[in-house]
């Protein structure tokens, strides 16, 4: 949030002056995405700013520049988020983000590997995640996305299980 307000202030703007806010909604760090989504929901509820949801992995591919990108991100617990994008003048989603076991990360026949997920399966020649916020053609991608209401802007987690024992599986102290 301070990063956003500082950026706007440098342009002589405030958040209320922003007409449309495009937000990376995941997949990625659950808490990080929730901070972005929650903040955007709040800004949207103020009523002056439209919201759009962007695929966080597509943004990374566009950041990497033109090419056919196979992106894998470490999702912890022996899993990775995997997606493929073709980036040139516009973005084409070849395969949308999905959650896969790291053992299932196989080298595709064409295109380049991108992200920190590949090394989890001993594929060590992947391009590192691009740094900075510069991103080719992202405004065209954002323009094509629909406007969503604040309550419809939601994180994309891909993983819906938690590492907690259900009550029926918990040992009873009254047995044994």
């Amino acid at each position: 949030m301070p990063a956003v307000t500082d950026l706007l202030r440098a342009q002589g703007m405030a958040i209320g002056d922003v007409d449309c806010l495009a937000v990376g909604v995941g997949p990625g760090s659950f808490t990080g995405i929730r901070v972005a989504v929650g903040t955007a929901q709040g800004i949207g509820l103020a009523g002056r700013t439209q919201l759009k949801a962007l695929d966080s992995m597509a943004l990374i591919a566009m950041q990497a520049g033109p090419g056919l990108w196979h992106l894998a991100l470490d999702a912890r617990l022996g899993e990775a988020y995997r997606a493929t994008y073709h980036v040139d003048d516009e973005l084409r989603v070849v395969s949308a983000p999905e959650l896969v076991k790291v053992g299932d990360l196989d080298r595709p026949t064409q295109g380049a590997l991108l992200g920190d997920g590949w090394a989890l399966n001993q594929l060590d020649d992947a391009a590192p995640l691009p740094e900075g916020a510069a991103c080719e053609h992202w405004t065209a991608y954002a323009d094509a996305r629909p406007v969503v209401a604040p309550e419809a802007l939601l994180p994309v987690y891909l993983r819906d299980t938690v590492n907690w024992k259900k009550r029926v599986d918990q040992p009873s102290p009254l047995r044994g």
């Binding site: 949030m1 659950f30 800004i43 509820l45 103020a46 009523g47 938690v162 009873s172 009254l174």
Partner: protein, 337 residues
């Protein structure tokens, strides 16, 4: 001033609008009990997910119920801590986004200050100073309240919170989650004197509490009564009654001591366990005026955050910088109003 209050510190999503002259204008609450029931306790990741999914709906509903629009708000108060860090972050983010979008002040409120001031939302509100017994699933403390932001911790639990002990004993008796209210209901059919339990720490000076040993006493008794791993029927009701009775007796002794030590004559019972009727009944026998919040504001809620935030925002306070959550946050650090 219209102040929006947002509470997301644990497993309740609460939003309310408080007007500094007209009082509480709206109150919306989503309880996540069903989400956590199958785990028998709060799963932090699932709590955070529910908050981010429900919060914008509740904000819209709270504004609508108050008959105002977002642009009519003069400030946004939110729970900054203590609580689950991931859950707090949802409320902080949304609150700060909304306040920034509207160009109005935002203020991080201490969750326990919300509970301490919740009785002010009742028709019969206490005057300062008073002694507060704050008992919930996460907290058990005696606090001397001299005014808004003027708190002195008199004592507190050295292990389990009161509500936590209720929930754990309820779990032992196979009661649904959250167990406290279910245990209280079962206890109504039980004989509190069939099983004798020792009141923890009543023979020691001071105002500290401990519920871990009492929980163990319940476990030992439950093991004796268990048939194929379950305590059922009258046995379960009697054990529930004995536990609840012992908690109430213990808190009665400690409350009497807190009033004697401070010389005060007003006692405020706050927090989720303040909804317990046996405890209310027992504490009403003290030589003091007893206050508690309306039932809806005993458990976590947005109204108490809106109220506490309104007192501070009205006095000119607001976040200086972008605040981090305070999962742990001593009450004494708060500024006076």
């Amino acid at each position: 001033m219209n102040i929006l209050g947002i509470e997301t510190s644990c497993d309740e999503t609460g939003v309310a609008v408080y007007h500094t002259d007209q009082g509480l204008l709206s109150h919306q609450l989503y309880t996540q009990a069903a989400t956590h029931a199958e785990y028998g306790g709060v799963v932090p990741e699932l709590a955070s997910r529910d908050h981010v999914r429900k919060l914008p709906w509740l904000i819209k509903d709270a504004l609508k119920e108050a008959g105002i629009e977002a642009g009519d708000l003069d400030g946004v108060a939110y729970t900054r801590g203590p609580g689950l860090v991931g859950a707090l972050l949802v409320g902080i983010s949304t609150a700060r986004g909304l306040a920034a979008g509207l160009g109005i002040p935002a203020l991080g409120v201490h969750h326990l200050e919300g509970h301490l001031l919740a009785p002010m939302l009742a028709d019969n509100a206490p005057e300062f100073p008073f002694v507060a017994l704050l008992v919930s699933g996460g907290h058990s403390q005696f606090i001397e309240v001299l005014g808004v932001g003027r708190y002195r911790l008199l004592g507190g639990t050295i292990d389990d919170a009161t509500g936590e002990a209720f929930d754990k004993v309820a779990k032992l008796l196979d009661l649904p989650y959250p167990g406290g209210p279910h245990l209280a209901k079962l206890a109504q059919q039980g004989d509190p004197r069939r099983f004798k339990m020792t009141r923890p720490m009543v023979d020691r000076p001071g105002l500290d509490l401990s519920f871990s040993g009492l929980k163990t006493q319940a476990l030992v008794q439950a093991k004796k009564l268990a048939v194929q791993g379950h305590v059922r029927g009258q046995d379960a009701a009697d054990l529930a009654a004995a536990f609840e009775y012992t908690v109430a007796e213990t808190l009665f002794v400690k409350c009497r001591r807190a009033l004697e030590e401070t010389g005060l004559k007003r006692l405020v019972l706050a927090g989720g366990v303040a909804a317990n009727l046996r405890l209310r009944e027992r504490l009403s026998q003290l030589d003091a005026e007893l206050f508690y919040p309306p039932l809806a504001y005993c458990t976590d809620n947005g109204a108490m955050i809106a109220y506490a935030g309104a007192q501070r925002i009205q006095a000119g306070q607001s976040d200086a910088a972008y605040p981090e959550p305070r999962p742990r946050w001593p009450l004494e650090e708060l500024s006076h109003v």
